[in-house]
Amino acid sequence: MINRILHSTEGRLAAITLGVFVAMAILVPDRFLSPANLTSMAFQFPEFAILALAVSVAMLTGGIDLSVVGVANLSSVIAALFMSHFAGDGQGAGLLIAAALLSLSIGLTAGLFNGLLVAKFGLPPILATLGSGLVFAGLAIAMTGGSAVMGLPPAVAWVGNGTLLGIPVPLVILAILAAGVGWALKYTAFGQKTRMFGANPLAARYAAMGTERVLLKVYGLCGMLSAVAGLIVMSRANSAKADYGSSYVLLAVLIAVLGGVNPYGGYGRIIGVVLAVLSMQFLSSGLNLLQVTNFAREMIWGILLIAVMLINLVSFRSKP
């Protein structure tokens, strides 16, 4: 039984996540397990977890989306400009909803632009989204002059800092999105096509599967997920800026790979991505409490990534 769990990528990841949690709980029991720390973690990780979700979906097709942070910032800057322009004296809940819809449509547009580059023009996703990410960031800077957009209505704070039935709102949003994406990948024609395309793009084309539409939808979805992450970041910072969370791109890629998504496409499970996010958060919080410097923390992340990929590779090769 235990052997079988450890033989699946997600099973191993669950064991690692648990291991990291227990290790930190033993090393710094009073502070790591304190309600304050647990709550703070629950507010911290959803934003980059949602970006990781977006990268994972792109990776499932054998592609990647490096523009996620650019899209998040561009859409939240536009949403923030919109809100600060119309903000009145009230809470601004209606304004928030309108701004959220606006930012989602910006995310969708940006994502479809990526999809167009990849599907229609056949650019390699890594280069197409690297370039478009810079374009999105540039647009955001042009709109703001590089400074943070402030003066948001009070209702905005709820998205990133509020709770719903005692659960942090960002966590609720992440749970809904993760469940939704996981379900869609498994139970919809779009999800099945996404996976099959990733498994063999050439065969998908020869099977007349409609590969261009699938890629457009995939990158469109990535863009919308990024926009949601952008809203959470904006709320937690109570402002929007062109260069928030620039280290999140690599973190999101790292989590996707750590979560067992095959970078060559065709395999990946959302539960794996969620577990990878948790283990990263436990590790980084714990190291923080142990007063390990940020530089060492990134190195430890890198070691973790390479180690997990090697383990996955070895277990893949030893399969009968």
């Binding site: 096509k193 063999n200 084309r205 099977a207 007349a208």
Partner: protein, 500 residues
Amino acid sequence: MPTDTQPAPLVTLEAVTKRYAAITALDNVDLTIRAGEAIGLAGENGSGKSTLIKVLVGVEHESGGRIMFDGEPQSRLTPTAATAAGVQVIFQDFSLFPNLTVAENITMTAERATGTVLVRNARARARATEVLNRVGVKLDLDARVERLPVAHKQLVAICRALAADARLIIMDEPTTALTEREVARLLDLIRTLKADGVAVLFVSHKLGEVLEVCETVVVLRNGAKVAEGPATDFDSASLTRAMTGRNVASEPPAPLDPTAPTLLKVEGLVRDGAFEDVSLSLRAGEVLGVAGILGSGRTALAKALFGLARPDRGRVSLDGQDIPLGDPIAAAAAGIGYVPEDRLTEGLFLEQSIAHNIAIGRFDAHAKNGVINLGNLWGEAADWLKRLSVKTPDATAAVRSLSGGNQQRVVLARWMARQPRVLILNGPTVGVDVGSKAEIHGIMADLAASGLGVIVISDDLPELLATCHSILVMKGGRITEVVPGGAGVTEADLSHKLAS
């Protein structure tokens, strides 16, 4: 051990076995090759010929048995060691550097092997000239290889092997892209090599050539050596029987109903550089063959009909309705299906389940508002597996686990599930065992009988003759002739028409 009277053979294989997981690709094969000897290696696709070559040059390692060069056992043979022993392979694609000159290509391997760091042009040219003289061939040393005709590229590849001091040259299907005259010249060259003490392993399924140039013939079937003997002991029929394990009684296809309506009509289709002015019509219930040597435009035509390549001019219509060119989705929607040539890279999603491989074109059909009814999807897949008698315990297994014949049935099922009007099969039985081959031919006949139009592109001339009502001969991108299938023409006639 070498004896006083006779030197040890160049290459000896003793009970060599190669297993890939559950599949035995080579089964206890013994083989001896002596200097100056030409051996014909015959066998159907998937019989183990390629595996034998790979083991001989150290790309794959035998799972059992012994390989000896000059009587010396080789443990864990590497490509470097094989090259050092003088074993050279000329693959079908020749593996040349298209952007380099003839001289550079010829001397590349040999120069690298000397361990020299600098490229020395003068020495390379002298060496290349020497080799060309040795085989009595004139080629422009400074011509870029990409500009040479196929037959000359092959000469360059042979010269490269000789420049690297080849003692055994393995030629993998060397004549597939050659015209008859070029084949004759190649066979002459092989005789020259033999006289020079170089051994040749001639891998081919073209009987005439094998019998003409080789002293000994070795036949593989399902990985095992099933026959070996002097070439003079074989004739066409006995070689075929050894290769296939049975007498291939070609049953002519059921006669075509003269009143059957025309399904597919192609008029003046042109794709510059690939094929010219192709017109054909396909009736319901008709099986139409397309034959041609490599590079004749047959695969380009098949891809163009299915929209994978965009023709420059011309019309394709189905039931009188024009089909938009260059769009596989439109072609599939109109009712055209395409079973590709290379099953492993173009046809299958190897790591995905059998059911998904069948359902790939049916996700939308199984979905309501985008949500798939997985029960229906699995049910339909199981249904097809039963109808095409695919031997597998369950549809959830990766399609990789199936044999070639069963994999091909999965690809067929994928298209049959979409109920096409016209099915284009490119190499329908490549890499398929003999039993499955007959069954796939049966499926093709059933499809035609149910009113489909079937187009078959194949290298396997007996297959075309046995399954097609008529066969289009393609040469240099044009349809040059239409010959009747069935017993109307012999294989030798057809082969002559293709290559003359």
